[in-house]
Amino acid sequence: MAGNQQLVEQVMNRLGVVRSSTRIDIARELSAHLEDIVDEECSPGLTGDGIAAAVRERFGMPEEIARDFADAYRVERWAIYAAAVLGLWAVSFLGVWATFISLKAVICATLGRPLLTAFSHLGLQFTNLSSPSLGYLGARAAERHFRKREFVKAVGLNAFLIVLVFALTFHFAQPGHRSWPAVAFLCASLARVLQGLGGKMLPAAAIGALPVAVWFWHGAPFTLVPGAGQAALVAWVGMTLSFLIVASFAGKFEQWLHRKVCANL
């Protein structure tokens, strides 16, 4: 019966992210129950709309049932989500790292320097290049999850992330390099805010990366290219590409979440 399927879908759409096997099991069980109600309601001679109304009345509000299921599977939902977010961050970091390594490799090849120079200071690269991902994803996570007092919570979440970045920075970085991750973090958050305002990622990424370029222009340490102007240009291009990559992964992640929620209906 189409009405039954619709009721089950309404529950499943609001269930959140649980394992596929759990979704299949819940949908199957609810469908079986609705089938039994229909059988029972058919006997007094009801037909069509009368049966559908009786089924809906006896079954209850799909929103309420979905909320109760979501509560019952709270731990599972959070575990899946946390693992997925961690995966997203790791993939984003690797994307940013690959971009910068490629840029550095091109510069090394152009300037006739050994290619291995691009791979030097891996610990420093980790702190430097994790900050754009953390900045962008932190801002996006805050928008997604905080419904009440969102600004305060967003500041709290991002303050935690920036402290994490600073802690890593002070462990790995030389004194002259320490402010770079914070600048990258803030620029990535800015890019996300601009994307939210304008809707287009390319201009948001390009404008968001400008403070990095300015920072390099004013003499940030950069050993690969000679001259502040070239260093600023390389940093600006690298950051813009990084923001685009992280935004693309985050978009794909949200599509995956949506597919996961709507799957197996």
Partner: protein, 109 residues
């Protein structure tokens, strides 16, 4: 007569554990049996039973299995685990004490 929704929701665990302590049942049977024994007083929204069953199963009080029912269709049967049996006994004891205490308050007005 129909009871307050929150009151029913609070006692659904006790009812489920008690009914399943007697025999294995699937969701629809649990509702039918509760309705029959209460002379239709327990008329809760039927879909709300399933999250409660899944929660009890995740806590280890129930186990479940898909089997073919008498109707020839597959249904998910629930049964108590040994942990569930202990919980059923405990819940019943608590309920008796609770109702006794409530009754004492109500009758000594």
């Amino acid at each position: 007569m129909s009871f307050d929704r929150e009151l029913l929701k609070g006692s659904i665990t006790l009812l489920v554990l008690k009914l399943l302590s007697e025999r294995e049942m699937y969701g629809y049977q649990i509702i039918q049996e509760a309705s029959r024994r209460s002379e239709d007083a327990f008329q809760f929204k039927e879909g709300t039973l399933y999250p409660a069953l899944h929660l009890l199963e995740s806590r280890g009080y129930l186990r479940s299995e898909w089997r073919v029912a008498k109707s020839g269709r597959e249904r998910k049967y629930y049964a108590l685990t040994s942990k569930g049996r202990k919980m059923a006994a405990k819940s019943r004891g608590e309920w008796k004490l609770f109702t006794k205490a409530v009754e004492a308050v109500l009758s000594n007005g």
